[in-house]
């Protein structure tokens, strides 16, 4: 039986602008950024959930909310049945040992004055240790470096001595240091060369096979999401517009946005030529989203109902969901 690791229900993360004194005195209105606006999703244990969408669609905010790096306004985040939103500091600390993040900016998340050994050892020293574990931290660091195919000598070097791909591996080593069950990878290969990106993807795939880690794969690279993920969700302006098994979503793209997104991916092979659907304009501001369907301002298939009514996330069968009036016959 398949077990779900994370279930998110109706999650909302809003940011409030203009709550300060100045706006109070000068009567500026309160602006609300609907960064994540009522998202529900399920991540299966040992599988990868790919989250795609353009910049500013809220995919990183959603990821950060799962770790409570930002506080949600409402909704539930069930991690193995326990609600992360309601956890107190102590529980949260334990949760964050089981769930880790690989950040997009691989150098920015490492202290340049610490050696790589110290960086990887830091989470190891923070954990509540079982008394019987006799392995020294140095040994563990060496094993971790080995498992991400880095030389153990790397432990005495500083982050600036590494290339982008190696720095990314260090980030992976730190993330797996505490044997987490869940890792969120935020654009894990951005800025890397083709063949370096391939080594990172292979590495993360191997780790998943070996350690049964569940990934939330946040990326705007659709080819990569197709290759890496079992399930996927497409976000637009804080809402989930399509969700389902990756193969199902790619083979039966239901939402016009997903269709445009997939058609815009430049392809190398000529046999699967597909007409690119060009979207006009850019993603609207999440402060003032359009009425009805948020996508209607750029949608090539817009009709009257889209302006008036917000489309609900419909079940198309086979765990494939889509929020579009076109499918609501």
């Amino acid at each position: 039986m398949e077990v779900e690791l994370i279930r998110i229900r109706n999650l909302k993360t809003w940011f409030f602008q203009g709550k300060g004194l100045l706006s109070k005195w000068f009567g500026q209105g309160l602006k609300i950024v609907h960064a994540v606006d009522g998202v529900s999703l399920t991540i299966r244990k040992g599988h990868t959930f790919g989250l795609v969408g353009e910049s500013g669609c809220g995919k990183s905010t959603l990821g950060n909310t799962i770790f409570r790096l930002v506080e949600p306004l409402e909704g539930e985040i069930l991690f193995q049945g326990r609600d992360v939103v309601k956890m107190n500091q102590k529980e949260l600390r334990r949760f964050r040992q089981q769930a880790q993040i690989i950040f997009q900016d691989q150098f920015g998340c490492m202290n340049p004055r610490m050696t790589v050994g110290q960086i990887i050892a830091e989470p190891l020293m923070m954990r509540q240790r079982e008394p019987e574990s006799q392995k020294s931290i140095e040994q563990e660091v060496a094993e971790l470096l080995n498992s991400v195919n880095l030389d153990p000598d790397a432990a005495i070097k500083f982050p600036n001595e590494f290339s982008g791909g190696q720095a990314r591996r260090i980030g992976v080593a730190r993330a797996i240091a505490l044997n987490p069950m869940f890792i969120m990878a935020d654009e894990p290969t951005s800025g890397l060369d083709i063949s370096t990106a391939a080594t990172i993807l292979n590495l993360m795939q191997d780790l998943q096979d070996k350690l049964d880690i569940t990934y939330l794969w946040v990326s705007h690279n659709l080819n990569q999401v197709k290759y890496m993920s079992d399930d996927m969700g497409v976000m637009y302006l804080g809402k989930m517009v399509e969700m389902g098994r990756t193969s199902e979503v790619f083979n039966h793209k239901a939402h016009p946005y997903t269709q445009a997104l997939i058609s815009a991916v430049p392809r190398v092979s000529s046999e699967q030529q597909e007409q690119t659907i060009f979207l006009e304009g850019e993603i609207p501001s999440p402060i003032n989203p359009p009425s009805g369907c948020y996508f209607r301002t750029r949608c090539p298939q817009v009709f009257k109902r889209c302006e008036e009514e917000e489309p609900p996330l419909l079940d198309l069968g086979g765990e494939h969901f889509c929020a579009c009036h076109l499918h609501d016959a």
């Binding site: 353009e54 910049s55 290339s163 060369d193 083709i194 063949s195 370096t196 990106a197 391939a198 080594t199 993807l201 292979n202 795939q205 705007h220 690279n221 659709l222 080819n223 990569q224 197709k226 290759y227 890496m228 993920s229 079992d230 990756t246 193969s247 445009a260 997104l261 815009a264 991916v265 430049p266 392809r267 190398v268 092979s269 000529s270 690119t276 060009f278 979207l279 304009g281 850019e282």
Partner: protein, 340 residues
């Protein structure tokens, strides 16, 4: 119809001299680019693709030294022009460049209007020496350029500052500054790498459209082979300062004759299905001051033989208009390079 080459680079060799280290960033680069054509340049970081663009415009840092070669542009060798001629006739006039990060190329403290009219004023100054028109005379022209790049409400938006524009719009502004009827060559260095796929498609369509309108040739540097498959007429694959393969897009991508090109294509996730391993070329691009002997790719190449360690492979024409620099090509015949 035989079109004449607009740009002809021959035997270009360039070193970076860093103290006692000498790094050969470009090694005997020869290629030509016809009018109205798009030539894509691909390769891993550190293979010299950006240096090539900078060398054409002669915007190199002081440590760079051009050893040999020529860059013929419309028949004139750019390397022989004086710095003044480069500035007055070539840079920003005939040859323009757009960069990867548009926010770094725009000055944050000046309005878009100021920055666009600046360019037009300078261009006008060199085209009609002696006259100096006020900035206001160019406003309308700047608005038209902005409009041609597809920015809505250009008359209002031209008074904005760069921070009020999104990344895609800033890249549009850059294109508006770079492309005009006088431009005959556009150098695009990773111009859409920082953008979302939907915006990337918009920008690439815009570049192609305007270039076709003005008959501009493009040298498009990127590491995204998918973008090149859609945009480029011809592709050049570079590695450690050398050209490894060059030819028409469909031949280079469809039937790569160099093991390195084949490896790049095999490492793309788009070609592989879930669960299968991607090809990762072992090792790294070598530092340019410690290049291996013989073929610089041999330590990473799965097919390397003794001869690869000894001889530098010349770039040879393996099929009509299709060039490859591999010693084993002859011997191998028409067998494909399959890495995995």
């Amino acid at each position: 119809m035989i079109s004449e080459p607009l740009l002809e680079v021959s035997n270009l060799t360039l070193d970076y001299n860093l103290g006692n280290r000498k790094m050969r960033a470009l090694d005997r680069i020869s290629f030509s680019l016809d009018k109205g054509q798009v030539l894509g340049v691909a390769g891993e970081s550190g293979c010299g693709k950006s240096t090539l663009g900078l060398a054409i415009l002669r915007l190199l840092p002081r440590v760079a030294e051009i050893r040999r070669g020529a860059v013929f542009f419309n028949g004139t060798d750019l390397l022989k022009l004086s710095e003044k001629q480069m500035e007055q006739e070539i840079r920003g006039q005939k040859i323009t460049m757009i960069f990867q990060v548009p926010q770094n190329a725009l000055n944050p403290v000046f309005k878009i209007e100021t920055q666009m009219t600046d360019i037009l004023r300078v261009q006008d100054k060199y085209q009609n020496p002696g006259t100096r028109k006020p900035r206001g005379d160019f406003r309308q022209q700047a608005i038209e350029r902005l409009e041609s790049t597809g920015i809505a409400d250009p008359e209002a938006r031209i008074s904005n500052y760069p921070f009020e524009f999104s990344g895609g719009m800033k890249q549009r502004v850059m294109i508006g500054m770079a492309l005009s009827s006088g431009t005959s060559l556009l150098l695009a260095d990773e111009a859409t790498t920082a953008l979302d796929v939907t915006i990337e498609a918009q920008i690439n369509r815009l570049i192609t459209k305007l270039a076709a309108e003005y008959g501009t040739s493009i040298l498009y540097v990127t590491h995204n082979l998918g973008v090149l498959a859609e945009m480029a007429d011809r592709i050049m694959i570079m590695y450690a300062g050398r050209i490894f393969e060059m030819g028409q897009t469909r031949f280079v991508l469809g039937d790569p004759r160099h093991p390195y090109s084949a490896a790049l294509l095999e490492s793309l996730p788009s070609r592989q299905t879930r669960g299968k391993r991607l090809l990762a070329i072992p090792g790294f691009v070598p530092p340019l001051d410690r290049l291996p002997s013989g073929c610089s790719f041999h330590p990473r190449c799965a097919f390397a033989e003794d001869i690869c360690r000894q001889e530098v492979p010349p770039l040879t024409e393996v099929a009509s208009g299709h060039w490859s620099a591999c010693l084993l090509d002859q011997k191998r015949g028409r067998q494909k390079w399959k890495w995995s």
